[in-house]
């Protein structure tokens, strides 16, 4: 029906998303001689990967030679409360060091040890200092290195292009996608033998979030609509340390590196309260007193780990409890103090962007004063269910890597495991796509009907004259999700959220936009809303079904972990493939771990 003539491109491998995972997938596919196109909603080099601060976990053993992939594997599984896809955790732990070294070949400049190796820093949940880093701007180093590599290879990058929907062939294989140029509002189609989703997360549906406008879950939603399954969607990570003041920057990330480098958490009484929140599974390896904890920073054999460096889910819940008990700061957070523990020179050298960020935005000098921080919506452990080795989804031709993929991190991700996840599985998705093409059974047609439907739906808000402002809907959605599907959940609020989300679905169908199609943020937001609603529904569905507390998912009404639920993922699928169609939730058994890996979890490594 559409009278819009669309620009058309053809590729072997089409990558949606230009963060760490998408760029690494592009490099791999390009090195295998395939024609690769990358689509990004923003400019190249601006993806959310730049926000990663602390580092990239890889058991290179440069600082502690005792470290190896087995300890990293064990830490990752324990951090994920054993809900992880063990095979992904295994591949990740084994391959991360090579991925870090390869970045150096491409121009990355990591901080060094005294003998010239890559320096590694401590982070929560990692037994040894394991994070390769560049001050507190490691994500920028990663994305710039990959970006420069991709550019030097001459790969086609399509910037400021919003993808609306995936397109199939007549047999249900993925055949490409349809989207529009943000600059002009003109539509464009990409036909491809394989599509790699590398779209990142979906934290923008919460009010207090470390995520940018881009993190609307487009990849999660498009995969679901296209027939793939989403797992563990209830497992959302609230990072313990986001800024809380001024209000306009609430949620902005404060790196875990502050704690890795000696920062401690205090309540309004000045107490180091984390000692009161050590869960039984971490007791054996966590310090019992401040004296013991303080010895550890210089020598990991002299004392056990400080409780501030427990996994993020544990720390976020503890902060939440302190604030609820009335021991919070004036603006509803707690205090993160490095000023009294490290020299001003040390802080400025190790944490330059944090120094800068607090000085410029809050007028706080972190070398003199404590930071006020609180939990902020940060990361989706859940995502598209994939085969660990190839990153293939159940939809032929469709792959997913990075935050949009599910399984690697289980119920909670350890800090530093995200940057390494991007490059380990970005590369594997590139290989997976190449092997799928080589096998020869690729899409043979391109469903123009799907294209036309997506375009007319995207244009509909221009035809409604009295509809609702998309910004109002987004604002209300963020408030609602923050209130009802936040860090601590219960059945009553989740049921309410389900009802509310049905109302939001109707509101999105009545959205209207002003102005033209050229670089119109209101329209751009209107086309993001279906993904935001879909993903919010999946998070809420999963949270209702998981009647236990595990990792990033905490139920007030089911405060303990249930061993039976620990054996399964909740997998969700769309009943009709349209964004407002119902979503079904199924139980999907977790992969059974081979005995030799299982033994690693119990050994004292």
């Amino acid at each position: 029906m559409t009278d819009v003539t669309t620009e058309h491109h053809e590729y072997d491998v089409l990558i949606i998303g230009a963060g760490g995972a998408g760029l690494r997938a592009a490099i791999e596919a390009g090195q295998r001689g395939l024609k690769v196109g990358i689509i990004t909603k923003s400019l190249l080099g601006k993806a959310h990967t730049v926000m990663a601060e602390g580092g990239m976990a890889a058991a290179m053993g440069n600082v502690y030679p005792e470290d190896n992939w087995m300890v990293h594997f064990r830490d990752t599984m324990r951090g994920g409360k054993y809900l992880n896809n063990y095979r992904m955790a295994e591949l990740h732990a084994k391959e991360a060091p090579d991925r870090v070294w390869e970045l150096e070949q491409w121009g990355a400049l990591f901080d060094r040890t005294k003998d010239g190796k890559i320096l590694q820093r401590d982070f929560g949940g990692h037994r040894y200092a394991r994070l390769a880093h560049v001050g507190d701007r490691t994500g920028l180093e990663l994305i710039r290195t990959l970006q420069q590599k991709v550019v030097s290879m001459g790969t086609d990058v399509f910037m400021e292009c919003k993808v609306l929907q995936l397109v199939h062939d007549a047999e249900g294989r993925v055949a490409g996608c349809v989207g529009y140029w943000r600059a002009t509002g003109e539509f464009v189609t990409f036909q491809a033998k394989t599509v790699v989703l590398a779209t990142g997360g979906a934290g923008k549906s919460w009010k207090f979030t470390s995520n940018s406008w881009e993190s609307t879950g487009d990849g999660h939603a498009m995969a679901l609509w296209a027939g793939a399954k989403l797992i563990d969607m209830e497992c959302v990570q609230f990072h313990p340390t986001g800024m809380v003041w001024p209000l306009s920057v609430r949620g902005l990330l404060v790196t875990e590196g502050v704690r890795g480098d000696g920062g401690v958490l205090r309540n309004s009484l000045g107490e180091r309260f984390m000692f009161n929140y050590v869960a039984p599974m971490f007791r054996a390896e966590t310090a019992e007193s401040e004296e013991e904890a303080d010895k550890w920073y210089d020598d990991h054999t002299a004392g056990r780990r400080p409780p501030e460096l427990l996994p993020r889910d544990e720390v976020a819940r503890a902060i939440n409890a302190e604030v609820k008990a009335g021991r919070g700061s004036a603006h509803g957070g707690v205090f993160l103090d490095i000023a009294t523990r490290r020299s001003a020179e040390f802080i400025r050298r190790r944490l330059p962007s944090m120094y800068h960020q607090f000085m410029e935005l809050a007028g706080v000098d972190i070398t003199r004063e404590a930071m006020e921080i609180g939990p902020t919506c940060h990361y989706f452990m859940g995502g598209v269910q994939v085969d660990a080795d190839s990153q293939a989804t159940v939809v032929p031709g469709l792959f997913a890597a990075g935050e949009v993929g599910g399984g690697m991190h289980g119920a909670n991700r350890l800090g530093g495991n995200s940057l390494s996840d991007l490059v380990v599985f970005g590369r594997r998705a590139g290989i997976g796509a190449a092997e799928y093409i080589e096998a020869g059974d690729v899409a043979t047609s391109f469903d123009q009907g799907e294209v036309d439907a997506a375009i007319s739906e995207a244009l509909a808000p221009f035809d409604r004259t009295n509809g609702e402002n998309p910004y109002d809907i987004q604002h209300d959605l963020q408030e609602m999700m923050q209130l009802n599907v936040g860090i601590i959940r219960n059945a009553g609020e989740l049921d309410l959220a389900i009802d509310e989300l049905d109302k939001f679905t109707e509101r999105v169908k009545n959205v209207s936009v002003k102005g033209g199609r050229a670089y119109n943020p209101g329209w751009n937001l209107a086309t993001d809303l279906p993904s935001m609603i879909t993903v919010s529904k999946c998070v809420t569905n999963g949270a209702l079904r998981r009647k236990e507390s595990r990792g990033g998912h905490t139920r007030e009404d089911f405060p303990n972990a249930d061993p039976e639920l620990g054996k399964l993922n909740f997998a969700q699928s769309s009943d009709g493939g349209h964004w407002d169609d119902p979503v079904s939730v199924h139980e999907s058994s977790i992969l059974i771990m081979p005995a030799e890996l299982k033994a690693l979890l119990e050994e004292d490594l």
Partner: protein, 259 residues
């Protein structure tokens, strides 16, 4: 209730004008917060580019009261009283409102011959902190392109864009030239095609850099010295004649085996 008045340039390549918006003042807000509030209420189609809102991605560059600034890092309470004027970066073609076409920078990026390190030894390269620090300073660059915007070689002379890389890429070349592992030679390229000689070190770029990179002192001046030495030093000239090391194209240099 105190108020803020914003004069925002609205228009496209065919022309435009200032629109004035008056809003309530909120504590601690940055310019980008106020722009967002305008979008959410009066003008949902007001075009502006942004991503991280934390000074890390370099997307929200614009000119605030005539000076290039990251809107996300410019607190309203640091600006003089009275209306705040927000305009798009002047050196780049307008797309719409505050959004400009910065593709010039991506064209320049594609011309940079990549790093060429020797094969990696077992256990990784050895480099020392003092040797990587010089390059690390330049790699702090968030590509906000404000140094390009303010550089008078291209700000007032569109025609120079064809043969001038600009400060952002001079720090990139400096980083590669000072990289402890690099074996590529870009000096002829920098002198002949990248227009390093056009820069007359007025330091405008250094002044606007939100990462406080000493662009002129630490990158451009040392780069000028290297390039000039290579070109005019008779010993170096003879060396080049004898042991001819051609500059590699980006594509050649890109073919590096994975470890």
């Amino acid at each position: 209730m105190a108020e803020v008045t914003m004069r925002v340039w609205r228009g496209d390549a065919s022309g435009g004008d200032f629109e004035t918006y008056t809003l309530e003042q909120n504590e601690g807000e940055v310019v980008l917060d106020v722009i967002h509030r305008i979008q959410a209420t009066d003008a949902p189609d007001l075009a502006c580019r942004w991503n991280c809102k934390a000074g890390k991605c370099g997307s929200c560059s614009a000119e605030v009261n005539g000076k290039p600034r990251l809107m996300c890092m410019t607190r309203m309470d640091t600006l003089p009283k009275g209306p705040v004027t927000v305009t798009p970066m002047k050196a780049f073609p307008i797309i719409r409102d505050l959004v400009t076409d910065v593709s010039f920078n991506y064209v320049q990026a594609a011309k940079v011959p990549a790093l060429m390190p020797p094969p990696m030894p077992e256990g990784g390269y050895r480099m020392f902190q003092e040797d990587v620090e010089r390059g690390q300073e330049f790699r702090k660059c968030i590509e906000c392109f404000m140094c390009q915007d303010v550089c008078h070689v291209i700000r007032d002379h569109e025609e120079n864009k064809e043969h001038y890389a600009g400060p952002r890429f001079f720090i990139r070349y400096a980083e590669l030239e000072m990289h402890p592992l690099d074996q590529n030679d870009r000096r002829d390229l920098i002198r002949q095609d990248m227009g390093l000689g056009y820069c007359n070190i007025t330091k405008c770029c250094t002044e606007v850099c939100p990462e406080h990179i000493k662009i002129t002192d630490n990158a451009i001046i040392p780069l000028k010295e290297r390039v000039v030495d290579a070109h005019y030093d008779p010993v170096a000239w003879l060396g080049r004649k004898i042991r001819r090391k051609p500059k590699r194209s980006a594509a050649d240099a890109a073919v590096q085996p994975a470890p």
